[in-house]
């Protein structure tokens, strides 16, 4: 009879006939759920701590000092934030960001939903079309935005050319040379880029809706719009909400698009919070002020996410 053996730790386990059990201390230790969990989470958490948590705290510190490139900063309290509030460019930038995010999201949702409904049928080449439609989202933003910039170019715009040749306009449209026009152009480009994301995700959501529901509604006398509004839309709400939040987070903190399209101009009229922060921080070297500007984004994003979570919880509970 083998002696009774108890416990984990480094104790040897009596081998049973026919086996060679090689057991090490580490193996024993990693059987513990807590120990294993820590070991598995360390690499990811380490990277996130060193390169997000720590710099985040630093950024908050920066925003409370007058640090600039080359000079150490001294504590100035909320000065940078006060300056930002009074800075007209910042006010424009903040307004632009809200305007840009709002309209782009509305368009992306509407067009994305429409496209999803179209793609939800069966037709030839469906797979291929779906794959091609995602390209705007896949291709690096900077590169595709350049193509749009070329299309909006004051002298060589192909859009202007088409409109002129077909008699719609007699003078060129000031796509990027006028502040208001430029914002709308940016919204168009962002919509172009983001609609596929909405479309594909909403499409997946649509495919989980039981087709029997639409048939029942049709028999009940609902036309296409009613079927959409009363059956499809409510059932799709959870997915829609999540997609919208993801998109809002991305769009609100967007940098690349404006940077390439207008650089913030003309005359600082198309700056977003992100691009203005960059201009202050890198171009002008005013790190403290740049950090303060950037920080304005964070609470807004938290608010958006918080609202969404609350809404989702309420919907789940109902």
């Amino acid at each position: 009879m083998k002696p009774a053996v108890a416990g984990a730790g480094g104790a040897a386990v009596a081998a049973l006939p026919g086996e060679r059990l090689v057991v090490s201390r580490w193996t024993r230790l990693l059987e513990n759920q807590r120990v294993l969990a820590v070991a598995l989470l360390v690499p990811g958490v380490a990277i996130l701590t060193i390169f997000i948590a720590y710099p985040f705290v630093m950024a908050i510190w920066f925003s409370l000092t007058d640090i600039s490139v080359g000079t150490a900063g001294k504590f100035v309290g909320a000065d940078n934030f006060k300056k930002a509030f009074q800075d007209t460019i910042f006010q424009t930038a903040f307004w632009n960001t809200c305007f840009y995010t709002f309209w782009a999201t509305v368009f992306k949702l509407a067009l994305g939903m429409w496209l999803a409904l179209l793609l939800n049928r069966h037709f030839r080449f469906k797979r291929m079309i779906r794959a091609w439609m995602l390209l705007p989202f896949i291709i690096p933003t900077v590169l595709s935005t350049f193509a749009w910039r070329w299309m909006f170019d004051p002298t060589f715009s192909v859009i202007n050319w088409v409109l002129y040749q077909s008699g719609w306009i007699s003078d060129r449209l000031p796509f990027l040379s006028n502040g208001d026009w430029a914002m709308w152009c940016a919204i168009v480009v962002n919509t172009w880029r983001g609609t596929p994301f909405f479309a594909i995700t909403l499409l997946a959501g649509l495919q989980t809706i039981n087709p029997d529901l639409h048939e029942a509604a049709a028999l009940d006398g609902a036309n296409a719009w009613n079927r959409f509004w009363h059956v499809t839309w409510p059932l799709l709400l959870p997915v829609t909400l999540v997609v919208v939040v993801f998109s809002v987070i991305q769009t609100f903190s967007d940098f690349q698009l404006i940077y390439v399209l207008t650089g913030g101009g003309p005359a600082n009229s198309t700056h977003l919070v992100a691009t203005y922060a960059y201009q202050l921080g890198v171009a002008s070297g005013l790190l403290g002020e740049g950090a303060a500007i950037s920080l304005f984004m964070f609470p807004v994003l938290c608010l958006v996410v918080w609202f969404q979570l609350r809404y989702l919880k309420r919907m789940e509970g109902a």
Partner: protein, 283 residues
Amino acid sequence: MVIERKWKKVVYFYVPLALFILFTLFPFYWMAVTALRPDPELYRSWRASNATPFWTLEPTFEHFVGLLQTTAFPQWLWNTMLIAIVSTVISLICGMFAGYALARLKFKGSEFLGTAIFITYLVPQTLLFIPLADIIRNMHLGNTPWALMLTYPTILIPFCTWLLMGYFKTIPKELEECARIDGATRFGAMVRIIFPVAVPGILSAGIFAFTLSWNEFIYALVFLSSVENKTVPVGVVSELIRGDIFFWGQLMAGALLGSVPVALVYSFFVEYYVAGLTGSVKG
């Protein structure tokens, strides 16, 4: 399927779909046409009448050649590819481990950690780049690809973790339990049983991470200074505009060539990409 009239189908389906496709793909087409147009034909005013507005009768490769020979574009392509692959691998490994731990292991603080990882996604890069530039310099990683290979995972890990967490949750617990009874350690069961079964999810996370890496701009802009070290997005933006003059032919050639690798990889994994996209939103 709700039956509808034929004409309605054309108007409400084919026409809008065609318009969407046109709207979506036209910029790429225009990119290609511009890249193939010889310079004189390119710089024609918007007002000028043009016999061949949407294509060219004299396609030329001069822009591509110029791009590849006179700029560091090939080097940028290599840099970007390398950085994307390494960042993806690092993020996948971290995401697989973290996703498994959060989905399967019970320990105190697992909910908190899950939320914390979610919160890091909300911290915008335009806030972090300022202090990060400092940190990177202190680590002597400034102007090296490692600066990006270590910072890109900060964007990619949260996403990979959620996606894989949701995926792992769909794998029946019995598989691991059986493996553990059969003689595997917890770690062994994870690697030998769970990971192989989760390959579709891993591929989805991987391809998504890969495309996100190619798309990153601001960290690359701030951390890389010398021309040979730049990535494609940064290189195209900073080097192909000399003075105030945009070399549109080369720019579009660069944009096209810069998009090809991503598009190619994507084309092999389309289904996985879509699964990743939808999975992350549902999970």
